[in-house]
């Protein structure tokens, strides 16, 4: 697989008031890979994701998507970049006032001129891809947690995004459901060749899906390890990286 970076993050610094969250971090994400951002609770994983999505402006640094810097981009340019995104939020973030089918149809209706019949067919197709076929008339509140996430995924892939983002896909799911979701991610990556960025701290998930990963640290606000998870576990001498993979408490 050729290494062609789609996303280049350079010297990203994020601060909330006096509270430094990310300090001068840089990394690349290659095309068609499953890239995992990992780290303990409160290390700024979700914050990093929100900046990658262009939902927040950082205090310093640049984020390039195919050489477009979304930090300095105009609103129009940012929207064009965001059009290539699909996002599965932690809670699924389905619009609670609409049925599952309407949720999946929403991006299709808003961004394309497809006929209603075609949209209907596409919605059914996307829903059956995430094993939710025939559930399009249910409201999000009638779905289980795992189904809501898969519904969110169906909506995220509605426009065949170039890059898919996942915020803690297995949070709050039982082991079986989260394994199913992992398999779905791997299968979609293999078939659609979508670049995927996954934020997680679930060890099982990390081993299952990650092709490359970075690990963030809460204390130094920076990346403390980069590479394949198994390599990170076996070769890193950083005590926090070891503790993370061996699931040990760190006494400081």
């Amino acid at each position: 697989m050729e290494k062609e970076p789609v996303i280049k993050v350079r010297n990203l610094t994020v601060q909330f008031g006096d509270n430094l969250v990310l300090d001068n971090i840089s990394f690349d994400v290659n095309r068609s890979e499953i890239f995992v951002i990992l780290g303990g609770s409160g290390c700024g994983k979700t914050t990093l994701l929100r900046h990658l999505l262009g939902l927040r402006k950082p205090q310093g640094g640049h984020i390039y998507y195919n050489d477009v810097d979304i930090v300095d981009a105009s609103e129009k340019e940012l929207e064009d970049v965001q059009r290539g995104f699909g996002v599965l939020f932690q809670s699924g973030a389905l619009l609670k006032s609409m049925t599952l089918g309407e949720n999946v149809a929403l991006p299709l209706k808003e961004s394309t001129n497809l006929s209603d019949e075609l949209i209907d067919e596409l919605v059914k197709l996307k829903l059956s891809m995430v094993a939710l076929g025939g559930k399009e008339d249910l409201m999000p509140s009638e779905l289980s947690g795992g189904m809501q996430k898969r519904g969110g995924l169906a909506r995220a892939i509605a426009l065949d995004p170039e890059i898919l983002f996942f915020d803690e896909p297995s949070a709050g799911l039982d082991p079986i459901t989260s394994a199913e979701l992992d398999n779905l991610i791997i299968k979609m990556n293999a078939t659609l060749k979508t670049t995927m960025i996954v934020v997680t701290h679930e060890l099982q998930s990390i081993y299952a899906i990650a092709q490359r990963a970075i690990m963030l640290d809460r204390e130094s606000h920076s990346i403390i390890a980069e590479g394949k998870p198994t390599e990170m576990r076996d070769t890193s001498d950083h005590p926090l990286v070891k503790a993370f993979f061996l699931r040990e408490a760190v006494h400081t």
Binding site: R50, L55, Q82, R83, G86, V87, Q90, A93, L95, S111
Partner: protein, 382 residues
């Protein structure tokens, strides 16, 4: 079943007033959450007695049922430290000792969490430093809404009319009964209080002028606007706020759907349409309230009232009220949506936004109304 005897703790005090001023307390009994505060009170009164420099408490005969003893010991240590008394515990049971070890040593910075005390001027500076984001956020919101509004006027086919109609139904049609009731009652009350005065001068007929002008110019628009703030402005803040905290607003953004066009614009448009209509409705019912009093306590006929009303109010009176309400509508929906979009921090955040939307909504309506009154006066059209 035998009634369980209440577990009590008794303690005995042996004071050793030697050269070192040492007090020895030994306790026996069972300590639990029910009786611990009584014990704390007693023990602390000993610690507050500053004639001792060392206090030893012996727990050999004492059993702890729960974590109450650990809490008690920590709190006693605080009191002892404050009073410069050395405190020693003897024979603490293993569980309690483990709990104490678990909670770790006292962190000195924990008690200074409140930060330094600020003076009045410093507080203003501090507020401005930390809240200027809010200000710029609001200005950004106003700017974006204005741009969206102009854009929507040029592309009316892009407005989500279906949503607008649903919202007109919710904010307008469903508000009719309460607007009718409220304005009729206010009309009634105003007419009733002025009827007594007017009768003294034999000016009964002028009740029509009073009610007509008062209701169409001020009361109708204000009643409708305040009710709409309470019914719909708050609902907008809560709806959008809930969507915001459950990532739905961010989800819309990355889907290529602008939350401003999708959520805010239909709401502002709907309220812009409904509030003037609600105001007309409130005008009619306010006047009906006046008529009822005119008939009942001023011996006027409905015909006489209406004839006088026709002479008293002109098109401008009704129109100025309706025009004002058009702007009130923008304010109400704008504030509600802004508060919703600015929501952060869970269920509490939604509550705060909802409250803020109503309070600042009503405040802005009254301010705007005053501006209009002054403006109309100086333009010579009041």
């Amino acid at each position: 079943m035998k009634h369980e005897q209440e577990e009590t703790v008794s303690y005995s005090v042996k004071s050793e007033t030697g050269e070192n001023n040492v007090l020895l307390l030994s306790l026996d009994g069972t300590i639990n959450f029910k009786n611990v505060s009584r014990l704390q009170h007693t023990l602390e009164s000993h610690l507050d007695d500053s004639s001792y420099t060392l206090v030893k408490i012996d727990f050999a005969e004492c059993k702890a049922k729960d974590s109450s003893l650990s809490g008690l010991l920590r709190s006693l240590q605080h009191t002892a430290k404050r009073n410069n008394i050395n405190l020693e515990f003897k024979s603490i049971d293993l569980t309690t000792q483990t709990l104490l070890d678990l909670s770790g040593p006292e962190k000195p910075e924990a008690s200074t969490l409140l930060g330094p005390k600020l003076g009045f001027v410093e507080r203003i500076g501090d507020y401005l430093l930390h809240h200027h984001f809010e200000m710029s956020g609001m200005l950004q919101f106003i700017g974006r809404v204005t741009i969206s509004m102009i854009w929507s006027m040029r592309h009316p086919q892009k407005i989500r009319w279906g949503e607008v109609i649903t919202l007109v139904q919710r904010t307008g049609a469903e508000a009719l009964p309460i607007v009718a009731l409220m304005s009729a009652l206010v009309g009634l009350v105003i007419a009733f209080s002025s009827a007594i005065q007017l009768r003294q001068f034999g000016a009964n007929i002028f009740i029509a002028n009073l009610i007509g002008i008062g209701v169409t110019r001020e009361l109708g628009p204000l009643i409708a606007a305040i009710l709409l703030t309470g019914r719909s402005g708050s609902a907008f803040a809560a709806e959008i706020g809930t969507m915001k905290i459950s990532d739905e607003v961010d989800a819309l953004t990355v889907m290529g759907v602008k939350p401003l066009d999708y959520l805010v614009m239909p709401r502002i448009l709907a309220v812009m349409l409904t509030l003037p209509l609600l105001t007309l409705f409130a005008d009619v019912f306010g006047i009906i309230g006046g008529i009822v009093i005119a008939i009942a306590s001023l011996d006027l006929t409905p015909m006489a009232f209406l004839q006088q009303l026709g002479k008293a109010i002109g098109v401008w009176d009704v129109f100025s009220g309706v025009m004002k309400s058009f702007f009130f509508g923008i304010l109400i929906a704008g504030v509600g949506c802004y508060r919703g979009m600015a929501t952060h921090g869970g269920a509490l955040g939604v509550g705060t936004s909802t409250t803020a939307s109503v309070v600042s909504g009503i405040f802005l309506i009254v301010v705007a109304d005053s501006v209009f009154v002054v403006l109309f006066h100086y333009l010579g059209i009041g």
